[in-house]
């Protein structure tokens, strides 16, 4: 029979091993990604990777310019943010502050169902429905544009933004809202001067997680953005096809010989993607700490 002490120690070391295994897996993943990525620069200069304006991986004189892909990702993501953040926060405010309990009880689970739809289904919907709509409405030569990708990504980021912002807003104590109302402020003044500012750290976390979801999304953008690797202009690039970093890796990885220059170039792109999301996460942490008046 186990002595109680040994049992405690056993559980403790089991948990320790699990934690170490998770961190180790992550560490190995980074190592693997960066190692294969760095190998590109044996044959191809880093400056070329960063400054070259085109991505021609399979021509006789291959070019591995990051810029078209990086700016493609940034454009699609920024577009998604502009679309999803105001809408998501507005929806969260409505659900937590204005809707009757019955309506909120219907809306909240519905937005969460949205989060469970696989991205390929979103992509299919985008391709079949949104692409022709955008093409006709804006009179473009193709509806597969950065804008289409932004709208789709925005819709996909919405459940994250709504659900986490809603939690943050509803956890603002009722007593604070009553304090504001008792001073003679209207419901709207209370929402935008007291409730939302008090929930700001939670809301910004929601936005950051939404962005993280958008920038890493692959299948949907691949299906609706046309995948043309040219540096997009702004804002004109919104109405033209673009190619993101994620789509590039997914499209090309299946066809490259292992160990080739192109293979390593894709890993280098993957490393950049990793670094980008890493920076976003760090930024999210800093933004959260910037609000001095936390509850």
């Amino acid at each position: 029979m186990f002595k109680r002490n040994e049992m405690e120690k056993g559980v403790e070391s089991l948990l320790f091993i699990s934690a170490v295994a998770a961190v180790l897996a992550l560490f190995l993943l980074c190592l693997f990604l960066f190692r294969d990525g760095i190998l590109l620069f044996k044959d191809y200069p880093l400056t070329g990777f960063l400054t070259e304006k085109s991505w021609y991986p399979t021509s006789l004189d291959p070019r591995f310019g990051l810029q078209p892909l990086l700016f493609g990702s940034i454009l699609v993501t920024v577009g998604a943010i502009f679309f999803a953040v105001p809408l998501g926060i507005a929806a969260a405010i409505y659900i937590s502050e204005l809707a009757s309990p019955r309506v909120a009880g219907i809306l909240k689970p519905l937005t969460e169902i949205l989060a469970g739809i696989p991205s390929v289904v979103f992509g299919f919907f985008g391709l079949v429905v949104l692409v022709p709509v955008i093409q006709e409405a804006l009179d473009l030569s193709t509806g597969q544009t950065a804008l289409t990708g932004s709208v789709m990504l925005g819709v996909m980021a919405l459940p994250t933004i709504i659900s986490i912002s809603e939690d943050a807003i509803s956890s603002v104590p009722r007593s604070i809202k009553e304090g504001s109302l008792a001073l003679g402020s209207t419901r709207w003044q209370t929402i935008h001067k007291v409730t939302v500012p008090a929930a700001l750290s939670g809301i910004s976390a929601a936005v950051m997680l939404g962005i993280g979801r958008a920038i890493g999304e692959t299948m949907t953008v691949m299906m609706v953005t046309g995948n043309t690797a040219i540096i997009p202009g702004f804002p004109s690039g919104l109405f033209e096809p673009v190619r993101t970093m994620t789509a590039t890796i997914a499209l090309e990885m299946g066809e490259v010989p292992q160990g080739s220059e192109h293979f390593h170039a894709l890993f280098a792109v993957g490393s950049v993607l990793f670094i980008t999301t890493f920076i976003i996460n760090i930024a999210a942490g800093h933004i959260k700490n910037r609000y001095r008046f936390r509850l």
């Binding site: 304090g179 504001s180 001073l183 003679g184 402020s185 500012p197 008090a198 008046f293």
Partner: protein
């Protein structure tokens, strides 16, 4: 009730009934609350004294399924009549809550919040903030750190900040809903001194669990029991020669 108050009547309630859904929580309350004096509502938990207090600035409007009948006249105006703007009413009738509830902002912005939403000119804000903090007996403690978070203050300071925040809107009436129940004795006595000071300019209604507190600071006392107003009169009379048996039982500590 006769109108024999020295300073006149501020609030006149006639036949007020309140239901939460089917629960009839206040029964036919009629009371006159005098100007520039302290009126205390006492009674055991659940007797309706806080509910009644919240009828006076229509905070019960926020509760779904709450239905109110009867008249509440403040300075001659029926606050439940159709044309009444709740915002104007709450500007006139301020409220301090049971637990200090400062906003998660700086001390300065907490006090400036009310004047700002009511459109006070920018130039006047600083003056109002200082006036309110002085009247709230907090100025000397915080004047050097107005831009620090209000949440770093002690509980007693937070409650005085909430009082100052209410004063900044320049109300006529201030409702206190058990303002000291979360505070230590020293903070409590500071708040009590402050209330005695404030009654010179404001009409004060205070709900309290603490009978000594009612005896110390109030001029008039109303005793509530199970949704009925049992007895109302001068505080000395209520405590020394209550007319009703229930009042006497409660005051002498036989129940509650």
């Amino acid at each position: 009730m006769t109108d024999d108050f020295a300073n006149g009547t501020e609030i006149e309630v006639r036949g007020l009934n309140l239901w939460y859904g089917t629960n009839h929580a206040l029964h036919d309350i009629s009371i006159d609350i005098p100007k520039n004096s302290v009126t205390a509502f006492i009674g055991p938990s659940g007797c309706g004294k806080s509910t009644f207090l919240r009828c006076l600035n229509r905070m019960n409007d926020l509760i779904p399924n709450c239905r109110i009948e009867g008249n509440v006249n403040i300075n001659g105006e029926d606050i439940y009549s159709k044309g009444v703007d709740v915002v104007d009413l709450r500007k006139k009738v301020g409220m301090v809550f049971q637990k200090p509830n400062p906003f998660p902002m700086s001390i300065h912005d907490n006090v400036a919040y009310g004047p700002r939403i009511h459109g006070a000119p920018r130039k006047e804000i600083e003056g109002i903030v200082e006036y309110a903090l002085r009247s709230g007996a907090l100025w000397d403690e915080v004047s050097g750190r107005l831009n620090t978070s209000a949440l770093d203050l002690s509980g007693g300071q937070q409650q005085r900040l909430c009082i100052a925040r209410t004063l900044a809107v320049k109300p006529e009436v201030i409702l206190f809903d058990e303002p000291c129940s979360a505070l230590d004795p020293i903070s409590t006595s500071k708040i009590e001194d402050l209330i005695l000071e404030l009654k010179k300019q404001y009409t004060i209604v205070i709900v309290t669990h603490n009978m000594q507190q009612a005896a110390r600071i109030s001029d008039y006392t109303a005793f509530f029991l199970l949704g009925d107003l049992i007895e109302f009169g001068r505080t000395e009379q209520i405590f020394e020669s209550p007319q009703r048996k229930e009042t006497e039982d409660y005051i002498t500590g036989r129940f509650g």
